[in-house]
């Protein structure tokens, strides 16, 4: 398994939630972090990190959500949006960036970024590093990484391609009824 899988667990073996938790060493901020992987608490998806440390990956996913928080969008889509950084070329910069983020969290009296409970407190740290190349790289990448996923479009109501269905001429281009 290289990418996200829907309850197919790691390396293709379907793992139950219990098995996942037994192999994990942290369950933090809504994600399970294990040796080489992160996963949803209900094991709906799991991502095996190839280069990044799993804690780094989990922190990156949380950072991504804090930059573009959509409460109706599941973590899975944020994982897809940032998994491109899990490569030999990108990983050193991301490890350094996340280390700096954790250092900032510690400077503010927290154990690390993931352990901060309120979004506002995490966002305050992000505001402090908003002009850094790392922050801008992650934010800029998310603009397409998150919003160009066809699977998230329906969450916004966006219908995407319409030509194959003959456009909206007979499918409600002028169906507004509340005006």
């Amino acid at each position: 398994m290289t990418t996200l899988t829907a309850n197919r667990g790691l390396r293709g073996n379907a793992l139950t939630r219990r098995q996942l938790i037994s192999r994990s060493f942290a369950a933090s901020a809504g994600m399970i972090i294990g040796a080489g992987f992160i996963a949803a608490p209900d094991a709906a998806w799991a991502y095996e990190a190839t280069t990044l440390k799993p804690e780094t990956m989990a922190t990156l996913v949380r950072m991504a959500r804090d930059i573009y928080p959509h409460d109706r969008i599941a973590d899975e889509f944020y994982v897809i949006a940032v998994k491109g950084y899990d490569t030999a070329e990108a990983a050193p910069g991301v490890e350094a960036g996340i280390a700096a983020l954790n250092a900032a969290a510690q400077g503010a009296g927290h154990a690390d970024y993931l352990s901060i409970g309120w979004e506002d407190d995490r966002v305050a740290l992000l505001r402090g590093m908003e002009n850094s190349a790392f922050f801008q790289q992650i934010r800029g990448g998310l603009v397409t990484g998150l919003y160009n996923q066809k699977a998230v479009w329906p969450i916004f109501g966006y219908e995407g391609e319409s030509f194959s269905q003959g456009g909206y001429l007979h499918r409600g281009f002028d169906d507004i009824s509340w005006l």
């Binding site: 930059i67 160009n148 109501g157 319409s162 030509f163 909206y168 001429l169 281009f173 002028d174 509340w178």
Partner: protein
């Protein structure tokens, strides 16, 4: 039968670019029996090739050669390598365009006279006026099939339009309608009526919207007088020792260089590339670039005062359904300096999909303020501001001292600073746009900054006096009689209207002039 001309055939008219200006000129000349070679940097894509997907379409069609930016405009910060959003393909930006087709208002042909002296602005009257242009506008409207002109009916209004209309009428605006659009409201010119698919910016897959890609270009080719060489990038215009241009050096798709001889050269590469080609063609006889004795080549870059306003409502609008530019409010296009600025602006509906909305709603923005707006996407209506900006000598295209393109030629730098008049107009338009949506019930309004330039104008401007501009009233360069400018770069001023109808009208008029001069042996 598609023509094929020899490289050493010096009887041809060579046109650089096949967009709104170059594509129309090529067909009009070919219809008159003039032999034409068109060089087009991009490839050929037809309606079946267009993609109903914003980023995939961008990758297919957009001009993404190296460009740099400077100046205080926000685009230089947000999209520093992408000053303009235009197309590299046969058909040029007429594939992307939304189709709004408006004539200039009478007073806009003479901005220096009618606006007076505006500090910092390099205003100049056009050497032509509305009476001169009326018959050419009519030909252009017939060619493009513009709705609400001739006997062509208007388009039906989509949801986005209905919201605009409701708010605008509530505020007392009178000139509110579904626009004059180069989009078929009924079948016309062997093309279908609009199917309301949306995605007008990504190329109309039904061919309901006019684009030179599938109208003028194939019609010109059918005459046997037009050869279009796609994926052929013009590098340099050459001249003889009498100072007349002799042809164009270009690179084909494999990067091989060729020289096409020509009797006349017409430049229609859009307002960044056109001056760049002239500047990159500098020689010992013309050290500042071709046709540049006035020093105005590349200057007075215009991009319209733009910006968008989105409104979020309690209930769904689904603005992406149907024509992208589905309607207009024209009342603010008038000249009324009591508003605190000269010139006027139009308000036109606009819709973006989720991918482009994320990129353009508030570039660089993040956090809940941004994402809660995105969460309101389904309930959003959108409009775009297009108003007259002030020509400034310092807003200009120059050759970069450091950046080069894929051919090793200096890349263009696009410098733009907003003029105080531009800022006053934009702020006025934001306020009116927000008021319109509030009047229609919006719970939130979003004044959105300008996108990379879609209307690029003015960089080889028309002038009566050779001292003030680059070309005369026929688009013929003041300095070199067989060198013409055939795109929006010949605009002396921008007016409040979307430019393409005027580009097309000028191209039809120029074809008549060139054909006449050729037959009189003047060229």
């Amino acid at each position: 039968m598609v023509a094929k001309f020899e490289l050493d055939d010096d009887s041809v008219v060579l046109i650089i670019g096949t967009g709104s200006g170059g594509g129309v000129l090529a067909n009009e000349l070919a219809q008159k029996g003039v032999k034409v070679v068109s060089l087009e940097a991009g490839g050929r894509y037809m309606p079946e090739d267009y993609i109903n997907d914003e980023w995939d379409s961008f990758a297919q069609l957009a001009w993404t050669d190296t460009r740099t930016t400077s100046g205080d405009w926000r685009v230089a910060k947000d999209f520093s390598g992408l000053p303009a959003w235009i197309v590299k393909a046969v058909g040029g930006t007429s594939i992307h365009w939304a189709g709004a087709s408006l004539r200039f208002q009478e007073h806009e042909w003479k901005p220096r006279t009618n606006y007076g002296h505006v500090t910092g602005a390099n205003l100049l009257d056009w050497p032509i006026d509305g009476a001169e242009m009326a018959p050419w506008y009519e030909k252009a409207e017939t060619k493009l099939g513009v709705t609400r002109t001739g006997d062509r009916p208007g388009l039906p209004g989509n949801n986005n339009y209905k919201v605009l209309e409701k708010g605008a009428k509530a505020l007392g605006y009178k000139e509110v309608h579904t626009g004059r659009m180069a989009i078929n409201s009924v079948d016309y010119d062997d093309r279908l009526a609009c199917q309301q698919t949306g995605f007008c910016f990504q190329g109309c897959k039904w061919g309901a919207k006019w684009s030179s890609a599938y109208t003028d270009i194939p019609k010109g080719e059918a005459t046997g007088n037009l050869e279009v060489r796609d994926r052929c990038h013009a590098l340099k215009i050459e001249h003889d020792d009498k100072g007349r241009v002799t042809g164009v050096l270009y690179a084909d798709k494999d990067g091989n260089h060729h020289f096409q001889k020509a009797r006349v050269v017409c430049v229609a590469g859009n307002s960044i590339e056109s001056p760049r080609i002239l500047l990159n063609s500098a020689s010992s006889m013309f050290p500042d670039g071709l046709a540049n004795s006035s020093g105005q080549v590349g200057r007075n870059y215009l991009r319209h005062v733009t910006g968008s306003v989105y409104g979020v409502f309690e209930k769904p609008v689904k603005m992406w359904r149907g024509t992208t530019m589905a309607g207009i409010v024209q009342d603010e296009a008038r000249l009324d300096p009591s508003r605190g600025f000269v010139g006027g602006y139009e308000l036109e509906t606009l819709a973006l999909g989720i991918p482009f909305m994320a990129a353009f709603l508030d570039p660089g923005g993040w956090g809940r303020s941004f994402t809660s707006a995105m969460d309101g996407y389904e309930n959003m209506a959108g409009m775009w501001i297009v108003g007259e900006d002030m020509p400034q000598e310092t807003n200009r295209i120059t050759l970069s001292a450091t950046a080069v393109d894929q051919f090793g030629l200096p890349a263009p730098n696009v410098h733009f600073d907003d003029h105080p008049n531009d800022i006053a107009m934009r702020n006025h338009a934001y306020a009116r746009g927000e008021a319109i949506y509030r009047a229609a019930g919006a719970t939130r309004t979003l004044p959105t900054p300008p996108y990379p330039s879609t209307h690029n104008l003015g960089t080889n401007r028309m002038s009566e006096n050779p001292r003030d501009g680059v070309v005369n009233k026929h688009g013929q360069s003041h300095d070199i009689p067989n060198l013409f400018i055939s795109d929006g770069s010949q605009f002396t001023s921008g007016a409040a209207e979307n430019p393409t109808l005027t580009i097309v009208a000028l191209a039809i008029r120029q074809a008549e002039f060139i054909a006449g001069e050729l037959s009189k042996q003047n060229l």
